[in-house]
Every structure is written in C-alpha cells, then in structure tokens.
C-alpha cells in the first residue's frame, strides 16, 4: 500500500525528446510511458518531430519503432537523410525498426467484423525485434481513409493507446489538424496526456513554424507559441522567454576596444554579459564600434560571433581594414565568425531560431548584431520587440556580452528604440553634428547601468589606427567640433600670442618711464646738491665776512683805547 501511494505522489517521469529546446519547454521531455499527440497541418514537421524523437532516443539508449502510414521506408530514409538522420545505420544496429503500413482502399473490401490485430502483431514484432522503449506512429488517421467502419476504428485506436501504455512505451502519434478541432478525427479525445500542436504562419511572405504544448497532464509546461526551425541538424525549438529573471550577473568588465570609451565607462569598459546598444543615424560609426568590440574580444582570446544583416563578411573585413582593424586575421584563427544573412530571407522567428543555433554551436563570449533595425521590416514593432527580448534574455543566460547596433532615423532619434531600451544595459548614441559646412561624429552615453559613467559628449575620430575619442570644446557659441573646433583653437592661440606681446611692450614702456623718472630724480638731486653747496659756501663766506668785520671793529676799538692813554698817530685811530 505504501509503495502504491509513494508512486502516486511522484511527479511523472519524462523521456527526453532530444529535440533542442523542446525539453526545456516541457521541463524534461515527453511523458514517459504515455502517448503524445502531435498534430498540425501538412508540412508542419510532424513526421520530423516523430522521427527525431526516435533518432535522439536511439542515441540516449532508448530504441524505437517507427510506424509509417504515409511514406515507404525508402522514401522516409531519403527524406530524413537531409536532416542528418541515418535510418539505415540505425536499423542495421538494431536501434530502430521502421514498418511501412500501406493501406490501399482500392484493394480492401470489408465483410464483417474485424480487429486491428494485424497492426498490433506487426507493432509487437517490431518492438521485440529492437527492444523498443519508444514508438512513433505517423499518421494513424490514414486508417480512416482505408477503412470504413469508423466506430470500430475508434474502438481499435483506443485499444492501441491502452496497449502502448500497458507496455510502458513512450509514444508519439501524429495527426492532421482539423477544421474545428485539434485533429481531423478527434484523436485528442483518446490521447489525453500530452498534446503538441505544430503550425505554420505566413506573414509578409515569410513563413514561420510554431510549436505549442496545448496540454501536458501532470506537468507544468510553457504554454506559449514557440518558433521552431527544421534544418540540417533537425528540429529546434526556441523557448520564448526565460520563465524568471534569474540569470547570474557578472562583475567582470570587458574592454570596448576603444580606450576613450572604456574611460567613459568608469574606466573599465562594458560589463560582461551586458547588452550594449549603439544607436545612431547612417554613417555615424556604429559598425566600427561593433568591430572594435569584436577585435577586443578576439584579442583576449575569446570567441566572437558577428551577425551581419546588411553587409557581406568580405565587405566588413575590407571596411574595417581601412580603420586599421584586421578582422580577417581573427576569422582565420577561428575566434571570429561572421554570419551574414538577409533579414528578409525568413521570418522573425526563424531568424531567432537561426541565431540560437549559431550561438549554441559556436559558443561565443560576445555576440554582435549589426544592425537589429533591419528586423523592423520583418515584423511589427511589437513582434520585433518580443523577439529581441527573448534573444537578449537568452544570451544573458548564456553569459554572453551582446552588442547591437540600431540605425535610427534622423527625425526620431531615440524614439525608435524606446521599445527595447529597457533591455539595454549600456546605450551609446552616436550623432552627427553639422557645423560650418561639415559633418562630425559625436558620441554620448545615454545610460550605463551599474557603473559611474561619463555624461560628456565626445567627438568620435576615425583614423587608420581606429577610433579615438576627443573632448569636445565648448566655445561661447556652444559646442564646437571638427574643423570649427580647430579654427577656434587657432584663433585662441593667436589671441593669446597677441596679448602676450602687448604685455611685454607695456612692460618695456613702463621700464623706460621708470628709468626716465630715475634720471630726472638724479638730475634734480644733482642740481639740488649743487645749490646746497653753493648756499653753504655763501653762508660760510658771509659768516667769514661778518667775523672779519667784527674783528676789525674790535681792533679799532682797541686802537681807540690806546690813543687815549698813549699818543697814537691818527692813522691808528682810523
């Protein structure tokens, strides 16, 4: 009893389909030991889904039986060979049994009750022959065209599903899509565990295939329409969006390849795994910034995958050579892969799937999309946005740094990209500036999450040595760049020289004045000294004279006194 209740509470086990992306959506694959109905219109890939389920199963050690009602074994082998499936080898190795059940209504007459035991016997024989764990039946509904007793058929089909379940076989049953129901014959009533719908939609002349898990009993599953691709490696489904925003963030920084730009980005460059947008009008140097990142990535010895939507790889290589970036070298060394596709080649979803596949195969650390604006022609803005959200999300989870360029129209520079701006970690805007008859490139950092970054406008200079950033000059008339900046700088230098000359001249004049004044002072002092000397002489003479006179008077008076006492001649009196 306990064993029973234990098994009942266990989540259902799943059989990995091995189909790229599908196991992610369903959280592990198809329900183990149960039947899955795969329905869709003609050409949707039902047969391929069923076949890949078996081929991948064989690789995983679960052998399979493929019952085909529509194609002969030879046709089937040939058709799936283009997907890289070698049915003959798998059959030789006893990993796969293929049984072609041909129902020709023209040679069958019904006369009384019957059962489909013949089919059961064949199935059982094939299952035993390879020890199958998986069964694919493509397409059971053919029976309805070959046999007339539909009520008997339904009962038999129901019995078949039960029979498969009893043998614990994981089965894929394909069915044609019906008008008002999932399948033409209402098979979904019998297969109740898992139903997958494949559809093809055409928009703007390009077709996209979608997969949807309509029902998955006992399991959570993504319920969106997921685009899928069938190419030379089989089926691949792209999960629309990661269910949660739980990817790891990196604190690592990677150089943008332009030292000046790294300096603006807090001195270290972009965050690894961040999404970088380079927007700008035509010819502002978007692809060049992208090429720099590619170059820097390869220089670190990491792989870079560049998706070009407007130029051929050879053209990119030549153009970047002109600014001194040798991308050809990296391509040869295998670090750089350039994939050029026309956006109009296929629908948006197909692009997404193709991008997924290329990234998964090359495993780059940096992915460049140049330019994503070309997708705008492949869908509505909403569709493009959804696609890009999914792409960036996924690239983040893969720990990949993404740079995308966006060609904005000259009239609505930033508006165009607003839709995706929320997904962008670092947004670089390149702008033209037309001043005095010439056009120059400038670079702004509109935002850069999680780091201190420059708010300055820089001039983007292209040379044979690549991109350099220069400070722009703010003159009295606003921002000056290019030759206007150069001529302004020259004028300033000239003005300064003039000013310097003026100053020295003034200084010289002053000096002259000072020395003239000094000379005057000296002359005045000399004259004064002269006068003073003369004045002193005069004073001295005058004093001398007055002294002499005094002495004369004294001697006379003495003489006068002597005449009175002694007779003195008169002369002495005088």
């Amino acid at each position: 009893m306990t064993a029973l209740s234990d098994s009942a509470s266990e989540p259902i086990s799943k059989a990995a389909s091995g189909i790229s992306g599908f196991d992610q959506i369903t959280g592990g694959g198809l329900p183990q030991g149960r039947a899955t109905l795969v329905c869709g219109g003609p050409g949707c890939g039902k047969t391929i889904f069923a076949m890949e389920f078996l081929v991948r199963g064989a690789d995983l050690g679960e052998h399979g039986v493929f019952v085909t009602f529509e194609e002969s074994v030879r046709d089937l082998s040939r058709n799936v060979a283009s997907l890289g499936f070698d049915l003959e080898r798998l059959q030789r190795e006893k990993k796969l049994a293929v049984d072609y059940v041909h129902v020709d209504p023209s040679e069958i007459e019904e006369a009384g009750g019957y059962s489909l035991d013949g089919l059961f016997v064949r199935l059982e024989h094939a299952i035993n022959a390879v020890g199958a764990k998986r069964v694919a039946i493509d397409t059971l509904e053919v029976l309805f065209t070959g046999l007339q007793d539909t009520s008997l058929l339904r009962a038999e089909i129901q019995r078949l599903f039960r029979w498969l379940k009893e043998r614990d076989l994981t089965a894929v049953i394909t069915a044609e899509a019906g008008e008002n129901s999932l399948t033409r014959q209402g098979l979904e009533e019998y297969v109740s565990d898992c139903v997958v719908v494949l559809a093809q939609k055409v928009q703007d002349q390009s077709a996209t295939r979608y997969l949807r898990v309509v029902k998955y009993r006992g399991s959570t599953h993504g319920s969106n329409e997921y685009p899928f691709l069938i190419d030379d490696t089989g089926f691949s489904v792209v999960p629309a969006t990661a269910l949660q925003l739980d990817y790891e963030v990196s604190h690592d920084r990677v150089s943008s390849g332009v030292p000046g730009l790294d300096a603006m980005l807090g001195g270290k460059g972009y965050f690894r795994t961040s999404t970088v947008l380079v927007s700008g009008t035509a010819g502002t140097g978007k692809s060049i910034l992208a090429a720099h990142l590619a170059h820097a990535t390869c220089e670190r010895g990491e792989r870079c995958l560049l998706f070009a939507f407007e130029e051929s790889p050879a053209q990119i290589e030549r153009n970047m050579h002109s600014i001194g970036l040798d991308l050809g070298k990296w391509q040869k060394s295998g670090l750089l892969q350039v994939r050029a596709t026309r956006p109009s080649l296929y629908g948006l979803e197909m692009h997404l799937v193709a991008l997924h596949k290329a990234v998964a195969a090359f495993k780059p650390r940096t992915v460049i999309l140049d330019p994503v604006s070309s997708f705008m022609s492949a869908g509505t803005p909403h569709q493009v946005k959804t696609m890009l959200v999914r792409l960036f999300d996924w690239l983040k989870t893969q720990q990949i740094t993404t740079l995308l360029t966006y060609l904005s129209s000259p009239h609505s520079r930033e508006d165009t990209v607003v839709g995706i701006s929320s997904l962008i970690d670092t947004w670089i805007e390149l702008r033209d500036m037309e001043i005095s008859g010439e056009r120059n490139r400038t670079l702004y950092l509109l935002k850069s999450r999680g780091m201190r970054h420059s708010n300055q406008v820089r001039e983007l200079l292209l040379s044979e040595q690549g991109v350099a950033l220069a400070d722009v000059y703010y003159g009295p008339d606003g921002v000056l760049i290019g030759s206007a900046k150069e001529s302004d700088q020259r004028r300033r230098r000239r003005d300064e020289a003039f000013a310097r000359e003026d100053a020295t001249r003034n200084e010289r004049l002053l000096e002259m004045k000072r020395s003239a004044l000094a000379a005057q002072i000296a002359a005045l002092q000399a004259a004064f000294a002269n006068e003073e000397e003369e004045a002193r002489l005069a004073v001295r003479e005058a004093k001398a004279r007055s002294d002499a006179a005094l002495a004369d008077r004294e001697s006379v008076s003495q003489m006068r006194t002597a005449a009175g006492n002694k007779t003195n001649n008169g002369a002495e009196v005088l």
């Binding site: 020709d104 040679e107 006369a111 009750g113 019957y114 059962s115 035991d117 013949g118």
Partner: protein
Amino acid sequence: MAIPASRNKQTARNSAPNLATEERWNLRLYVAGETPKCVQAFEHLKRICEEHLQGRYAIEVIDLLKNPTLASGDQIIAIPTLVRQLPPPVKKIIGDLTNTERVIVGLNLTPQVAAKRKSK
C-alpha cells in the same frame, strides 16, 4: 471509389463467364490465434468456396501470432484478412466474412453464382 471500379471489372467478365471456371483460386486467410472471429471467418470462407469454387481452390491459413513477419508482406493490419492471390489482381477482404454478399463481390465470383445463391 474502389468498389464501383471492381464492379466494372466484374461486368467485363460477364461477357466471358466460362473463363472463371477454368481458373485456379489461391486464397490466404490471415488470423491471429483461434479467436471466434478467425474461426468464423475460416468457416464462412470454406462454405463459400465449396459452393462456388469446388475443386479449384486452396486456402492457406496464416497465424500471425506464430509468424508475425509474414504480416508486412501482404500489408495486413486487420484480422481476419482474406487475400486472393490468384487469380490476379490481388484482392483483400477484411472481417469475419459474415457478409457473404460482399465476399462474393470482393472476390469477383460470378454474378450468376451470386444470383443463384440469392434465389435459394
């Protein structure tokens, strides 16, 4: 579509009814074990043959439970299935053969025979 086509052939044979009498009939009955339907089918077949093809028929019974590989050769899905190997073309009749009318039509037995049977 298929059934009127076989009827046309039948009317073509009416012009030369004796042809059929010379022919040798090889019939193969596919069964899966001795289920009531299979047993019934064999009995019905035997009766019809005795009645219409006395002395010029052979019935080979193949039990798919014993020889499952033989099922794909004649593209057997339903059990029981009767396959007319000779005379050509190959014809298949599925079911327990309770509907004698359809067996006769399916096997292209002469309409006169069928009519005779009916009048009985």
